[in-house]
Symmetry: C2
Subunit: 192 residues, 2 copies
DNA sequence: GTCTATAAACTGATAGAC
DNA sequence: GTCTATCAGTTTATAGAC
């Protein structure tokens, strides 16, 4: 029973892993079940057993991502604001270093108009969570005096999210973009 | 002769107009020749006469956009840095107000990994031009003393471009995003 | 010069085999 | 429970009619 569950979960997980790589490199509209099934060594219709419709796969991908992101946040709840910011940067670099992936929120908001309703709802929730996190960093940084910046923490957090989301995309045309942006964000937070 | 040229140009122009709307709302991979031909009232294959391959249409779209953007820049060469920044914001709002379109550089860099080489080359050139413009605004603003900000003009210009590109995308999930970002950018430039 | 008929390949998806 | 054979619709694209 455990074995059955594991094997089922395992195939399902492999599908999600392959789909995630495709989503973050090519986008939702530019990958198909064939891409996944070829990589997995099965027929494309086999994927439909695990995820009947492409929506289902899309929703599952974002939900899994949200859970992972939540763990990522929880794991650094005790760190200083500046250290949390560094984790933010590290996360951003990790995307880029993995086949020039971009942030999921960038993919989902760019393709937003073509997404089905259930995927839009998940995308909205994910964007909110990322934004809240960025805002909390700016907020706590100002509160403990380690960060000094113009405007409200809400606006500064949003700006950091938007800049890094756009920056990951722009980095595909110029690999120095991210380093420049990271330095600039720190400057604007009075951290340099 | 003039009439022939005009009618040909006219159909070609209508195709480009429809394609541009589709590109900026749905993205390159999510629109087809059928979308265009249906709107135009012809068979999808008719589009192939004007643009044999989809690459050709994609390249023509970006090239036209680059020319238009160049005229946009030239038209305000004499304005103050702060006024040029306002035009930047106005341009950004204009995208969003037109069916929640996003910036072309955001589309092209997000779908970058799926684009053919000729479209990538055009995308690179366009991104460079947008970035140069943003950097020049920060540069001249610092020079004439109207803007005060941390970091280099190069980094600040890049940050503004990245933030507005990401912001247009995020605005689809929350319509207040752009207003917040504009205020914050002005704060960071010492303009408020 | 402009467009239509048509096709080859790929898409997401269902019914049913094992 | 898991996957294969198969399909109907869409995609880009070509050959050729007017």
């Amino acid at each position: 029973m455990k074995a059955e569950t594991d094997s089922r979960t395992d195939t399902r997980k492999r599908i999600l892993d392959i789909a995630e790589e495709l989503l973050l490199t090519r986008g939702y509209n530019a990958f198909s079940y064939q891409h996944i099934s070829t990589e997995l060594g099965v027929r494309n219709a086999a994927i439909h057993y695990h995820f009947p419709k492409k929506n289902d796969l899309g929703v599952a991908l974002i939900q899994r991502y949200r859970r992972r992101f939540q763990r990522f946040i929880d794991a650094q709840a005790e760190l200083s604001p500046a250290e949390q910011l560094e984790r933010y940067f590290t996360l951003t670099d990790a995307y880029f270093d993995r086949d020039q992936q971009i942030c999921p929120s960038g993919i989902l908001t760019t393709e937003y108009q073509t997404l089905p309703d259930d995927m839009r709802a998940e995308a909205n929730a994910f964007v909110d969570e990322m934004r809240d996190w960025a805002v909390r960093i700016a907020e706590s940084g100002r509160t403990d005096g380690s960060m000094r910046f113009a405007g409200t923490p809400e606006a500064m957090g949003l700006l950091m999210l938007a800049a890094l989301q756009g920056g990951l995309q722009l980095a595909r045309t110029d690999t120095t973009v991210l380093a420049t942006l990271k330095t600039q964000v720190k400057s604007l937070l009075g951290l340099v």
